[in-house]
Amino acid sequence: MNFVEEANQMRFLSLQLLGHASGGVGDGFMSGFLHPVFGFDHLVAMVAVGLWGAQLRQPAIWVLPVTFPLVMAFGGVFGANGLSLPAVEQGIAISAVVLGIMVAFCVRPPFWVAGVMVGVFAFFHGHAHGSELPHAVVPLAYGAGFVIATGLLHLAGIALGALIEWKRGDYFVRSCGVAVCVVGLYFLCSSLLAT
């Protein structure tokens, strides 16, 4: 057996092993996982939450990643049950704009203000993800996918935010905030022009 044949056999075996999960759970999980990753408005906002948490330091740096998924899930429950939320797309875009500004200018409001802001944004994001839940092949796997992806994006933001310890790193993080804001403005304009 040559290398190509062996590689093909390994691939076939791995697909067989996943056979219990794939075509259903695996597809559902990947679909949910990729929803916030390929949705650029979601992606930049989630990374910005992590960046801002890093700038706010304790306790926000750990409270935000712990509470965000829970509030997002409440939004998801609303979306999954068909309960409408006005201007969801605009709300998501605005979350990216506002979080981008917070990061760019290193705004440090009182902890409860930051918590309320992020909570409102989490609800909008969760509603958008949750609206897709009833259409998913395996809803549980889809939900697990987007919750985990969101959490990993936060962690990526927090990891990037560690750069604020250095002056150039601080400039880089604030530049990321500007980029997040620009992306948010793009999506906001697009959604307003589409309506």
Partner: protein, 158 residues
């Protein structure tokens, strides 16, 4: 393999492992016995039709309960954690038992589910017990919040 590949059973088992590990090795050891024994009892009972509508909803709720306890890093007395682990073991084992079809040997299926539960809880608890740094403790709490969030969504589409 069912307990490992079925998210509706895997995540609560991970939650029990995280919770047990957070309490420390002395309490975690008791959970290592309580949960698999609960699973075995549940698989045995699940071959009947007892409480057929209540159990699935209760199992979905287990995500939220376990996830919130882990996220809050709430200290549990031994009796509470062992009781919780046993009860969730019974209910999850019950749902596993419902899926026992003619193609499986019941005894081997029961042993497999219990062993899978034991392995998941043991590995996860061992990892949690061994963590020392603050950021690692935070990561465990974040994982708990993920489990609770997934549970809320699971209940929404139930």
């Amino acid at each position: 393999m069912h307990h490992v590949t079925a998210f509706e059973h895997l995540f609560p088992a991970i939650g029990i492992g995280l919770l047990a590990g957070q309490q420390g090795p002395k309490i975690a050891r008791w959970v290592l016995m309580a949960f698999p024994v609960g699973l075995a009892v549940g698989v045995f009972m699940g071959q009947g039709e007892l409480l057929s509508t209540f159990i699935p909803v209760f199992n979905k709720t287990s995500f939220v309960v376990l996830g919130l306890l882990v996220a809050g890093a709430i200290r549990q007395p031994l009796w509470a954690l062992v009781g919780l682990s046993f009860i969730f073991g019974v209910t999850h084992g019950w749902e596993n038992g419902q899926e026992l079809t003619g193609g499986f040997t019941p005894t081997l299926f029961l042993m497999g589910v219990s062993l899978a539960g034991l392995m998941i809880v043991a590995v996860v608890a061992a990892v949690v017990v061994s963590v020392e740094k603050d950021w690692q403790h935070i990561a465990i709490r974040v994982t708990g919040s993920w489990i609770a969030a997934i549970g809320l969504l699971f209940l929404a589409v139930a």
